[in-house]
């Protein structure tokens, strides 16, 4: 579904990604972790072309992301993305947030978009808030709406960039629960997170990044059992002790 081959990226002289390669199969859940500044966000943003890269190839469902011929908006409309800071549109109501791209990008009719949006809102347990504005919801609620907004586009895969790291601890689980359910339904997911409980529960594989490189790419059990790299071991012991 997602194939990343020898991807490198530079900001001027500074190399953010160096020779990253990995694959995410259909229905697979891959967790990406690593220290701050290691390039996790950059890598995941390369997958839907939000960040350009200078070397290597990324292919999503048969479409090459880096190719100049690729219709990037179209590709992005098929890949959902959830951000650390939710990024709901503050000038629009929750319902409008859920329907805007369905109508304008996919060309769905008003009532169809609405039905779909409200069904997903119900699924994340927030039907009662349809008429509110993002600023009136808690962080956890906003993030659940953001997930529903991405799902409303019927994505073939979902990308998450630290979806819970801006949340108060008591709200983390309500978001993780939604993600766990999504994973169990067979959604293809690439998730940047430090929530190792989530990784243990649903991940198929765990990728560990450091200084722009994929240092470790292992099955979950293998990763938690006996990470091969020292840096991954050190990182794990640090975050698990918290």
């Amino acid at each position: 579904m997602i194939s990343i081959q020898n991807v490198s990226k530079w900001y001027g002289d500074f190399q953010v990604l160096s020779d990253c390669s990995t694959e995410v199969q259909k229905g697979e859940v891959v967790v990406v972790c690593g220290p701050s500044g290691s390039g996790k966000s950059t890598l995941i943003k390369c997958v839907n072309g939000l960040e350009p890269f200078q070397a290597g190839t990324i292919v999503v469902d048969g479409t090459s992301v880096g190719s100049p011929k690729t219709d990037l908006p179209k590709l992005r409309s098929r890949v959902g993305m959830v951000f650390q800071h939710f990024e709901l549109f503050p000038h629009l109501s929750i319902t409008e947030n859920l329907t805007l791209a369905q109508r304008k990008v996919l060309g769905r009719k008003d009532d169809e978009a609405r039905r779909k949006g409200l069904a997903l809102l119900d699924r994340v347990g927030l039907s009662a808030h349809a008429a509110k504005f993002p600023g009136q919801l808690s962080g956890g609620q906003q993030q659940r709406v953001a997930i529903a907004r991405a799902l409303a586009m019927d994505p073939i895969a979902m990308l998450f960039d630290e979806p819970t790291s801006a949340l108060d601890p008591e709200m983390i689980n309500e978001v993780l629960d939604v993600m766990v359910e999504l994973a169990r339904e067979g959604m293809t997911m690439m998730v940047v997170t430090h929530e190792m409980g989530f990784a243990r529960k649903v991940a198929n594989r765990v990728i560990f990044m450091d200084r722009g490189a994929i240092v470790e790419d292992a099955d979950k059990d293998e990763f938690f059992g006996s990470p091969r790299s020292e840096r991954a071991q050190a990182f794990l012991s640090k975050i698990l002790s918290h």
């Binding site: 943003k45 992005r76 951000f83 990024e87 709901l88 000038h91 805007l100 304008k104 991405a150």
Partner: protein, 221 residues
């Protein structure tokens, strides 16, 4: 002071005020539209477009408004006539309106540009991630958010424009101040009329400005 003269002059003063307001509103609308296009050009990836828009803004911000007004009144009709081959004068109101739109667009451009730049990268990315094109992201997300933030500044600039419309006396357009002055001349009560005109400008500008400040408070909470 003879205030009955003012009361007698109400119909023509009213016409003058109407012209002033009409000119202000139309110039603001035109100026914001052109200014927004200029801002998009300045922020675009095209070097040429960005340079042209930048030149436009710097040019109009470096010359006096009075010059622009007279320039558009005397030169532009001549140029239009030369291009189209006809000899139709375009009229003082239209030429002034165009002058104000073009001039104010330079100022509105800078306000809109700052507004667009104040929208976080995350919001823009969210719009793109949903599959929006550049145009859709601008139209549906960035500009609505930017205008919301900019409204107080845009209104403040509009109030300045409202006062600046009095410069149209230079080309003989009968705006509020010009009517007040000529009525003052006719009745021999120039002082009274000018005082009255000052009062009207003050009430409108100060009133609008107060409203804007209140709006600003509401927008920031």
């Amino acid at each position: 002071m003879d205030f009955t003269q003012i009361v007698n002059a109400f119909p023509s003063l009213g016409d003058g005020l109407l012209l002033t307001l009409e000119l202000t509103v139309l110039a603001v609308i035109g100026g914001v539209v052109i200014g927004t296009l200029l801002a998009l050009a300045r922020l675009s990836n095209s070097r040429v477009l960005s340079w042209l828009a930048g030149f436009y803004v710097n040019y109009f911000r470096s010359i006096p408004l009075l010059l622009v007004i007279t320039w558009f009144y005397f030169v532009v009709p001549f140029m239009v006539g030369w291009v189209t081959g006809t000899n139709q004068p375009i009229g003082a109101f239209t030429s002034c309106l165009i002058a104000f739109m073009m001039f104010e667009a330079a100022y509105f451009c800078e306000i809109v540009r700052a507004g667009i730049q104040s929208i976080s990268k995350g919001q823009v990315n969210a719009a793109y991630a949903l599959g929006m094109t550049y145009g859709q992201a601008m139209r549906l997300v960035v500009l609505p958010l930017a205008f919301r933030k900019m409204t107080p500044l845009l209104l403040q600039q509009s109030i300045i424009l409202f006062q600046d419309t009095s410069l149209v006396y230079a080309v003989g357009l009968m705006d509020f101040l010009n009517v007040a002055r000529s009525q003052g001349d006719i009745t021999g009560e120039l002082h009274t009329f000018l005082l009255f005109a000052g009062l009207v400008y003050f009430v409108i500008s100060f009133g609008a400005s107060t409203l804007v400040k209140r709006l600003q408070k509401r927008l920031t909470v």
